[in-house]
Structures are given as C-alpha cells and as structure tokens.
C-alpha cells in the first residue's frame, strides 16, 4: 500500500524522535570517563615523531590510517586549533557542523569522533583528559587579536593560510576548525562563555587517524581565553602507533551514527 505524504511525514518524525532519544540520552550514558592525566602512557617504541610547537606557531603533520596524534597542553595555558584534509583528495576535510549535528552535541570528549564532509570519520578521540573543546567559535584571526590585545599578533587564521599554502592549498581550502583545550559553552541566553577551571598542565587528547590525513595544528590563544596578557605556552605533539581498532572499539560503537560513519570510512580501504 502506498503511504500518503502525511503518513511518510509522521513516520519520519517518529524515526527522528527515536534517533534523538538515543543520541541524547542513551549514547552519553555509554561514554567513558575522561582519561587520567597520568593515564595512557605511550611506550618509547610506539613514538614515530615528537615535536614541541612554541606559542603562536603551527605545524603540519601527515597521519596514516591507524596512527594517532597526541596533543598536549604542556602548561595548561594553551589551546590548539586544528584542521585536516584527506591526503588523497583534499576536497574532503574536517566538518565541524556535521561533527556536532550528527553526534547531537557541541561537546566532544573521549569516545567521540570528528567527521569529514563526506560522512566519514576523520579522527577518533581515543583518549581525552578534559573534554573541554570548541567546535563552534573557531580560532584567533587578525581581527580578533587586534580586538583582544590591541595589536597585530600571530594568529590561527594566518597560521592556517601559511600551512595550507605550503602543501599547495589555499584560503578556499580552509574550513571551520576545532580548538582543543578551549572550554567554550553557550549559556542559557545564547552567549558564549569560557568555563573556568577546565584546563590543567599536561591535559592531552589522542586523535586516531581513520584515513590518511594531513592536519595542521595551530598553537594560539583561543579568542575567548580571558588570560591577559596573552595566554602562552608550548604544546607537544606526539605522532605514535596505536593498536588497530577492534570491532568493539569504543569510538566505533559509541553510537549508531558513529558506527555508520566508520562503515562508510572502511569502504575507502576495502
């Protein structure tokens, strides 16, 4: 029997409400506690590359599928803004809007994923000590540093332009970014606010690469960071090998949406 438009609309609404309930009530209950500050040690022989990025600067890292990148806020006074592209086709890139929308949450923490614009998983948060990251507001820019500090300063926008240019990309390739160690929330009136007390020296996140990627990490103060004069401190990036994800992998099984995104990602490699 053919369904009427009304019946289809009602069925679609029911499915949406079921997905919403699962995504906002069931999934968060299954997410793990944050990683302990002294947890998840990386053995020396798993380290591929380690570098320290000084305040204001950036670095570009290539990750093969299955490798991980640890980002460490050495002093508890830095934030790291990050963008990334699929190495084989850089028109596929990080998509913060889909990351938030698909997971029903603007907050990401251990067990969550960062999605590309093609319905695939770019990065998995396999370890995370803080869960205090920003996907909505973005990094610093020439305008924001002048507004905040009254002078031109090194900033994330310019870092992204420079990094993109060095791999043959340009301004058109720079998408909205995620900023780690930036505890941004939206209050009841819709204003952005900085949650105090959510940053500690040594906070880290481990991002497992789910496809071959080029990522850029920029170590500049987040525009909302109230630290004056500027927040500053080095950050450490450790590219390392992690065990392959098993079928019961935390990030793969955290939500039905994530499971589908992983299935679509796997098709690139099978």
């Amino acid at each position: 029997m053919t369904q009427s438009r009304q019946e289809i609309a009602e069925a679609n609404r029911r499915r949406y409400e079921e997905l919403r309930a699962a995504g906002q009530e069931l999934t968060p209950k299954g997410l793990p506690e944050p990683t302990a500050l002294d947890g998840a040690p990386i053995s020396t022989d798993a380290v591929i590359h380690r570098e320290q990025v000084p305040p204001g600067w950036y670095t570009t890292v290539r990750l093969r599928r299955g490798e991980a990148l640890r980002l460490v806020d050495d002093t508890g006074r830095s934030s790291i803004s990050l963008i990334g592209w699929r190495e084989e086709d850089t028109s596929e890139r990080i998509n913060c809007a889909d990351t938030v929308k698909v997971q029903w949450s603007a907050a990401i923490s251990k067990g969550r994923v960062i999605l590309s614009d093609m319905g695939r998983v770019l990065l998995s948060l396999i370890e995370d000590t803080s869960g205090a990251h920003d996907l909505l507001m973005g990094g610093s820019t020439p305008t924001s540093t002048r507004a905040t500090f009254g002078v031109n300063m090194r900033n994330t926008h310019d870092n992204f332009v420079a990094a993109a240019s060095k791999i043959g990309l340009g301004v058109r390739d720079i998408p909205p970014c995620v900023t780690f160690f930036a505890p941004v929330s939206v209050d009841d009136s819709g204003r952005f606010c900085w949650r105090e007390g959510c940053k500690r020296p040594g906070d880290f996140v481990d991002l497992r690469s789910e496809m071959n990627l080029v990522v850029v990490a920029s170590n500049c103060p987040h525009p909302l960071d109230p630290a004056r004069p500027e927040a500053s401190g080095s950050v450490t990036l450790i590219k390392h090998r992690v065990p392959p994800a098993k079928s019961d992998d935390l990030c793969r099984t955290a939500a039905p949406e994530a499971a589908r995104a992983f299935a679509f990602t796997d098709r690139l490699f099978t």
């Binding site: 614009d117 319905g119 507001m137 909205p176 929330s185 679509f264």
Partner: protein, 210 residues
C-alpha cells in the same frame, strides 16, 4: 514590480520547494527572504562578488557577536574579518549557523543508508555554485534561516520544530557586492521543514534614495 508586497522591489522570485537560487546583490541592496508557508529552513552562503575566495564565515560571525544565533542586527562576517552584510529585519526571531547543510553523505550517517539517495542542500549548493565557477571546495558552514537549533550549556544540540509562521521574513542588507546563494532545504528526515519542504520567496530592493 507587481505582486511583491514591496513597492520599491527591483526583483522578486518564488523559489520552489527543494530548489537552489543565486543572485549578486549590489552594495546597499536588501534581500528579503520570505518563508511563504512557514517552518521552512533556508540554507544560504555568501561570497564576495569581486573575489569569491572571501566568503561568509560562520565562526568569524559568531566570534564577533559573542553569541550563538543569527538574529536582528547580526553582522555577517567574511573569512577576512570584513562585514559582508547585516540582518536588518527579522519577523521570526532566531536563525542557525552552526548545523551546516544537509548532504547525501551526512544523511546516510544520521538517518541510515536508505536516505543517501534523497535530494539535499549540498547537491543544490554544488549545482548552483557551478554556475559561478565554484565547487564543493568552496562550500563552508552556512546560514540556516528559519532553522531552530538550540544549543544547551551542556552542549546538547538539537534541530527542533521551526517557529516561523507563514509570511515571516528576514532581511539581509549587503555591505559589499555579494553573490548570495540559497538552497531551499529539501530535508525530510528532521523537523527543520516540518517534514514537508515548501516554496519560499525572495525580493530585492535598492538602498533608499539610490
């Protein structure tokens, strides 16, 4: 021009349900977007007409205004930090710019593989942008007029029923010559269009006294 409801209109067009549209607005021109039948999301992108590498930036816009929703008075900021346009009238109240546009690929992730082969805003954007020499690469986080996406302090992020009534409108006045691109959202899997996409109307008028 007749039948616009606006005596000084220089252009008007009904955009059918699920269809894209684009037009260059001269500096000072105002675009009125009318939600003709109500509860219809309208996805939009802006590009500097003289240099499309400069385009609307959702994150710059939200950072500059310090709050998470588009409303009367919001300055729409480019990726170079310039004001491209501003919201000069709004009978609806609140609009989104954090949820992006629907796409075949993200629909399949959100709602299951069976929804992959449904028309989506990104298909509209790609086809409309191709008329202007632009590609998927040029699609950034967009505006979603009449789309209701509350973000709670916990981060909880939900597309809920739209609040726009039939005839509600929003007006965008251009601060520079902009290519304005619209996808009249075809999404039928969430409440942004009340599960029933409908037509919208756009009307352009010149700056007063021009």
């Amino acid at each position: 021009m007749s039948n616009t409801g606006i005596s000084d209109a220089v252009y008007s067009c009904d955009i059918p349900a699920e269809r894209p549209w684009s037009r260059v607005l001269a500096r000072g021109q105002t675009l009125r977007i009318i939600d003709s039948e109500g509860q219809q999301a309208v996805d939009a992108l802006l590009y500097c007409a003289d240099d499309p590498a400069e385009r609307y930036s959702a994150q710059d816009t939200l950072r500059v205004q310090g709050s998470a929703y588009i409303e009367l008075g919001t300055h729409l900021i480019s990726n170079k930090g310039r004001v491209m346009a501003r919201i000069t009238a709004d009978t609806c109240g609140r609009h989104d710019t954090s949820a992006g546009c629907c796409a075949c690929e993200s629909n399949a992730v959100r709602f299951g593989e069976t929804t992959r082969y449904q028309h989506a805003c990104r298909e509209n954007f790609i086809l409309e942008l191709s008329k202007h020499g632009l590609t998927k690469r040029d699609i950034v986080s967009n505006l979603n007029f009449f789309m209701n996406v509350p973000i709670e302090p916990s981060g909880k992020f939900t597309v809920v029923d739209g609040t726009s009534a039939p005839g509600n409108y929003v007006e965008v006045t251009a601060d520079m010559a902009v290519l304005f691109v619209i996808s009249n959202c075809p999404q039928v899997n969430n409440p942004c269009n009340d599960f029933n996409p409908t037509p919208i109307r756009v009307v352009v008028r010149d700056a007063p006294g021009s």
